[in-house]
Assembly symmetry: C2
Homo-oligomer: 497 residues x 2
């Protein structure tokens, strides 16, 4: 009845359809703006939100417009004939209502909700309602159902290897780029480690942002498979692989609402790793006054929850509680962090010791999932691989296989040193404030922007000595960052030297 | 920096802005699709959701497009120069987060949230999160704060009268059009009763839809004032008067989620009545197996909550628990209900007795808020006004003052009688099913569509005798309705006659 038209409007995650108010084929009252409609022809159908248009130039009376995303998703050419109908609310909304009113859901109901979310059948308000109704009100069996359902909706990878290892850090510590050292060590040993990483959302760099300084990370699933077959490991952006797509959608709604319950975090992480086909998972759980987890009691509760769900879903989980008091390595921001990683792999004398040690320790723990390795021998084996140059060689192989970065990104040229206000020693570093500062300087969008730390906790400083250097690529960012650092450096200097 | 352009796209309640991806004045990465932006010039500013456009025909690189609603709200002419910035999340989102995590909010925090909602600063997901976090988790002091905040944000009416009465039905009973009889009786007595009503959202007719069959109900606030000064009463649509605008926004989100807590209901109703300047309020609370309130215990809890909040906010409240077992009157749908109302006012012999009796009883209760009237004398006075013809005269005066409907709407001409399947007597009528049926037939959009009941509970019927008649205006609706009635009439016939 209506002819499909592509409308060059980017509506991000949402499917949006455009219908002329003077449409010849439907009564406009049935199709109020913002309502969901279903678009169909013989073999395709799509749900979209409707906008009503009063301009023939945009959509004529015989046309149905679709935004870029919706047009791509329906997979039909312009001019194809389609019909529309008001969309019924997805069936699982009934379960959502029950959850809102305090009922416990069974696994089929949770799977129904997650399937509908992954298929774009939920509005933002329904997703928010689901998240809030779960926040603090999930039974352990609901949590298990949620984890499995999220893992099973979307791509599920299978690897031709008995042991598939992975690591994950719950985040919050700037510069903590251990993955880029662990992956080459573990892969050089011969274990399969197909690492997908995220880009930064609220931090100054995600592993994908930092790896991108060195190599292409936008790999399709077949490309990623080829790299892993060739190299045993990879470090790619997870965005093209569609692992646990419901999780991405939930995160996009929960982040602005700052809903960060333990249950959501565990289900989110484990669903992605399950879908990725991992058998062994090491979780880095940093504790510190400005980290995500601030005390040992919280860390213990979180560890137990990871272990419990891991056991139930058949994933061997090790949780390592690490020092999250200060940034790891010296650089904060993609280029500066990539520099630290390569310095460790190249065994440069001034490579950050903390980044090297933490990476070796975690790589060692992962290596011990190799049945052939003697208990306790992991660390020494990791060290051997790193110090022999095998890890560097593996990293270069992975970079080559993913595709070397076309241009070498440089560190931001607008710089400002932040100086110690007095003699003393560094007693505390505010991770949260430094992350904010690096973002203001332009990271991760400007790869060369960020902070280079010269002093860490315990270091002795003299008045006027630089604590760190701000790097920015653009004047406006530079000004913002310098002003912000002027209001507080994020360093505490105590006692006298 | 950017020139304003009106884009003829109807985005209903949402403000939407359109920016070219090739925009010359801003870095596009800062302005991702769906993010909120602030649009400013010297004296105006507006928040809107952003869509990114890749078509110069829609928005050029020097332009900022605004949807119909946004364009109207910013109140500037096309071509005006404006600047944009990413919108900071409203401050009150911090309080929302606290509420999600289980904290109790104080009145200032609730006022902050409500003010931001009324000013379109909340996204759908934030509104949903607020509603779900309140559902079942509100202290009485939070409820009071919510009621007052909603009443105070938006228009607040003041009337030059010591007693201003109003009535409200919590809904769920088809045909229950008592307001259109009560208003003329009370106004004819001399009390001020400035009634604003809603249009149907999920029911086959709201009072505004039914009154519209007879008179214009789309009055501006000054027009409404003039009618009330002239007639003491009015029956207008509340949509132009902007009473408790936050409530309208909350309702638009809570309805599809079916969040219907007592607390939300009481805050919603009382905030509107407070804002309308009422001093005395009568609440009609129907109980029945297919009504909103199903038992006396629930009704009692709801009554106490109304009374408690009413006392605290200074509104004299009477709650009358009424019979909600079956529809009131015979017609369901605007034209049919208006017919019943006029039959009662005209004292026609076949006017529905139940509608007359209920209206007289409630009008009597309202009349007793007149200090000059003796306790217990209300009903008789209401009857006197109705039977003398004074109420009819007042109704005609009100219709004249609001503006008589231009054309007389007729009852739908496609009809089908639904017949009794056996001899017996009517033992139950499913209000919910009949409401659904009337909507399928086209009500309230098609004013003449609906149902005309011939039998009520207790009536004796013979097999094949008509129970009710379906009226529709369009063939497709007619078919839908007839099929639906075929699956179940909504009537239960018991025993044998």
């Amino acid at each position: 009845m209506l002819k499909l038209k592509r409308i060059a409007i980017d509506t991000y995650r949402d499917n949006v359809a455009f219908l002329a108010r003077k449409c010849r084929h439907y009564r406009p009252e049935e199709f109020q703006a913002l309502k969901k409609i279903e678009i169909m022809n013989d073999h395709h159908h799509l749900l979209a939100s409707l906008l009503v248009v009063d301009d023939d130039q945009i959509v004529g009376p015989d046309e149905l417009g679709l935004s870029e995303q919706a047009f791509r998703r329906i997979g039909l050419v312009e001019g194809t004939t389609v019909s529309i109908a008001p969309a019924e609310p997805p069936e699982s909304v009934e379960f959502l209502r029950n959850k809102i009113h305090g009922h416990t859901l069974d696994s089929g109901q949770i799977r129904g909700i997650i399937t509908d979310i992954a298929n774009y059948r939920y509005s933002e308000r329904e997703i928010a309602a689901f998240l809030v109704s779960c926040a603090g009100f999930m039974t352990t069996s609901e949590m298990l159902s949620l984890t499995s359902a999220m893992a099973e909706v979307g791509t599920q990878l299978h690897w031709d290897a008995p042991v598939v290892v992975d690591k994950h850090c719950i985040g919050g510590i700037p510069g903590n780029r251990t993955s880029m050292i662990i992956v080459p060590i573990v892969a050089a040993h011969g274990l399969t480690i197909p690492k997908t990483s995220s880009r930064a959302i609220t931090s100054p760099a995600g592993t994908a942002d930092t790896m991108e300084v060195l190599a292409n990370v936008d790999l399709s699933l077949p490309e990623m498979r080829r790299v892993v077959e060739e190299c045993k490991g990879c470090v790619v952006w997870g965005g093209h692989v569609n692992l646990s797509p419901a999780d991405d959608i939930l995160i996009s709604v929960e982040r602005p609402l700052a809903i960060d319950t333990r249950e959501q975090m565990v289900a989110s992480i484990l669903s992605k790793k399950l879908a990725a086909g991992s058998t062994h998972l090491l979780i880095d759980l940093p504790i510190g006054p400005s980290a995500k987890v601030r005390g040992h009691a919280d860390a213990m509760r979180l560890r137990k929850l990871f272990e419990y769900v891991g056991d139930q879903v058949g994933l061997a989980i090790d949780v390592t509680v690490t020092d999250g008091e200060q940034p790891i390595g010296n650089g904060i921001g993609p280029v500066l962090e990539a520099r630290d990683v390569m310095a460790v792999l190249r065994r440069e004398p001034d490579a950050p010791r903390d980044l090297r040690e933490k990476s070796l320790r975690m790589a060692g723990m992962l290596l011990e999932s190799d049945p052939a390795l003697r208990g306790g021998a992991g660390y020494a084996r990791a060290q051997e691989i790193l110090d022999s140059g095998a890890a560097l060689e593996k990293m270069e192989q992975i970079i080559e296989a993913q595709g070397k970065a076309a241009t070498a990104a440089c560190v931001g040229e607008l710089t400002q040193d932040v100086l110690a206000p007095c003699d003393g020693s560094v007693t505390a570093i505010d991770c949260y404030r430094l992350a904010r500062l690096a973002r203001l300087a332009g990271a991760p969008m400007d790869k060369g922007a960020g902070i280079d730390l010269f002093k860490k906790i315990g270091d002795v400083v003299s008045e006027g000595e630089p604590l760190y250097r701000i790097h920015a690529c653009f004047k406006s960012d530079y000004k913002f960052a310098v002003n912000f650092a002027g209001e507080g450096s994020g360093y505490r200097i105590g006692g006298s030297a």
